[in-house]
């Protein structure tokens, strides 16, 4: 399958030519397919925010290319503009970026800027509100009267309303309680499934990425040392720990058990997998 979004040898230098010059990305080849759910993990300062800001042209590569649907996003001004609507970026703590008088107007801001007519804007606002589980009554409220979790869902709806083919979210669950986090992740999954959109989720929670993503991309010191399905990436437990990342709690429980000589599979990283593996092991012992 051809990648929907791709970087080729992407290098980015901050403060180039000054004593503070710092290479944030070194010749990074990153790609995601249409409809794929990818999680990007890395420490603070690893370069992951720099990478995602290239995906919709907020940052310009120092060298290398960013391709959307096979063509360079910097090919022309018009192309860059198009890509900004096709690659939606939800920043960290996006609720601080709400500014309109009503929730409706805030969600409508993106589609209006795309030059859509008011019927289409209306359809998109209502559909995005539904995707993130906002009651119709909330649309006429001021965004500042909502709870933290609701505000964040409004901010995500504002990006979804542009109906991007690629939705990039930078730590969308940071600071939320477990129920609030679960709702946001559900909303993202719904958008992913109904629109067959490509999701790129940046997260610090290994448990979260283990549950949600089909593929993990690890960023460390401006490079991608590992990329693959969760089981494959989490098999590098020691290296991940050395990078300050670690593995999900379940993977650690199973690694301890295997170190104690208990025969168990190595590819466990979620609770349902752990439950099935333990039940299967008990069953085997019964049969002996």
């Amino acid at each position: 399958m051809a990648a929907i979004i791709e970087t080729k040898e992407l290098t980015h230098l901050y403060s180039a030519g000054t004593p503070f010059e710092h290479t944030a990305l070194h010749a990074v080849d990153f790609s995601a397919d249409p409809g794929e759910y990818v999680a990007v993990i890395g420490r603070t300062g690893s370069g992951k925010s720099t990478l995602i800001q290239h995906l919709n042209g907020l940052l310009k590569p120092t060298s290398g290319q960013v391709l959307f649907d096979g063509t360079d996003i910097w090919e022309s001004k018009e192309r860059t503009r198009q890509v900004r609507c096709q690659v939606g970026l939800v920043f960290q703590y996006p609720e601080y970026q709400l500014f309109e008088e009503t929730v409706y107007q805030d969600i409508a801001f993106g589609p209006k800027n795309m030059g859509l007519d008011s019927d289409e804007v209306d359809r998109r606002v209502k559909q995005s509100a539904r995707f993130v589980g906002l009651e119709p009554g909330v649309l006429e409220k001021s965004p500042f009267d909502l709870s933290g979790g609701q505000k964040r869902r409004v901010a995500i709806a504002g990006v979804i309303a542009m109906e991007p083919q690629v939705l990039v979210l930078d730590e969308p669950t940071a600071g939320l309680d477990p129920a609030g986090s679960a709702r946001i992740l559900d909303n993202i999954r719904t958008y992913h499934q109904e629109k067959n959109a490509c999701i790129i989720l940046v997260s610090h929670s290994m448990e979260e990425v283990a549950r949600e993503a089909e593929r993990l991309v690890v960023i460390h010191k401006g490079t991608i040392p590992f990329s693959g399905p969760p089981a494959q990436v989490f098999a590098h437990g020691d290296e991940l720990e050395a990078m300050g990342l670690g593995v999900p709690a379940m993977t650690r429980v199973f690694a301890r058990l295997r170190a104690m000589g208990v025969e168990l599979p190595a590819s466990v990283y979620t609770i349902p997998q752990a439950r099935e593996a333990i039940l299967a092991a008990l069953h085997r012992r019964e049969e002996r």
Binding site: T44, S147, A174, R252, V253, L257, I271
Partner: protein, 289 residues
């Protein structure tokens, strides 16, 4: 009462209403925290846990009921400095708490304001930076530090005021796993080695599991208050409140749902592995399967 470092009696709090009825954020909270305890407070967004924490050093004052810090009524305006000296606060966003352009000057800010003599400020700053493991960064610019380092500087700033109690309101929410561990380890060490009372407001179940005592807030009430291992056994109850349990407990719970007789008290990865090892070696008797 003299035993408690922080005590609330039937604490009620409402934000002043500009129009209509003010919602009651805290509705009769009675809690007493003893010197040297490490207390975690859990609750969903809007449960009242941050509002409660802000009463612990008189940032907010009760609408009803009383709050005492080391026996001092927080409504006693003349004693405000005494209260703030006893209880220091650390907030979620490290960037909002750092005021100076050099780490050691930032840490000195609190004691300077208390009018501490300069020689003693030097001693306090050095001791505070050593306590959080940031001595080598004393002359660095705070904005170039990592999130975990910034939070440790913020904690050092509070320590330099020599408080008996530190209240931390979601101090790790914006940090990566390494930053989170740095902050938690620092807090636990201060509690263990210096006997400082710690109140940790958090959304992370694995952090709450490390405390001596866990208070769960819901709709302005305390709904649970016990050792973490006991509170986390009520898996269904916590989930009804929009909370979770640490992953090891969640796994053991799933196994119990499938008829496997395992205790729910293993909060950590090591404890959980220990329980499962016994189970798989047949030490724990099996009811079914």
């Amino acid at each position: 009462m003299s035993q408690s470092i922080i005590q609330t009696e039937k604490l009620i709090f409402r934000y002043s209403a500009e129009e209509g009825a003010a919602p009651t954020v805290l509705d009769g909270v009675s809690l007493s925290i003893h010197p040297g305890q490490f207390v975690a407070v859990l609750g969903h967004n809007g449960s009242g846990k941050s509002t409660l924490a802000k009463h612990f050093n008189a940032i907010l004052l009760p609408s009803g009921g009383k709050v005492y810090v080391d026996g001092i009524d927080t409504c006693d305006e003349d004693r405000l400095l005494d209260i703030r000296r006893q209880v220091g606060m650390v907030f979620q966003n490290p960037d909002n708490q750092i005021v100076a352009s050099v780490v050691e000057e930032d840490v000195a800010f609190g004691p300077e304001n208390l009018g501490v003599p300069s020689q003693e400020i030097r001693e306090r700053v050095d001791a505070a930076l050593a306590a959080v493991g940031m001595t080598e960064y004393a002359r660095h610019a705070p904005h170039l530090l990592s999130g975990g380092q910034k939070q440790r500087v913020a904690i050092a700033g509070v320590l330099a005021m020599r408080p008996r109690c530190i209240v931390l309101d979601e101090p790790t929410a914006m940090l990566d796993p390494v930053g989170r561990k740095e902050v938690l380890d620092t807090v636990k060490r201060l509690n263990r080695e210096q006997g400082i009372t710690v109140v940790l407001i958090t959304h992370h179940m694995d952090e709450a599991a490390q405390a001596d005592r866990l208070v769960v807030m819901h709709d302005g009430h305390i709904v649970a208050d016990d050792k973490p291992a006991l509170v986390f056994q009520n898996v269904d109850g916590l989930r009804t409140l929009g909370l979770e349990v640490p992953e090891p407990v969640a796994l053991l719970y799933e196994l119990r749902q499938n008829g496997v007789d395992v205790p729910l008290t293993a909060l950590t990865v090591d404890e959980c592995a220990g329980v499962l090892k016994k189970l798989l070696r047949g030490v724990i008797s099996q009811e079914q399967i």
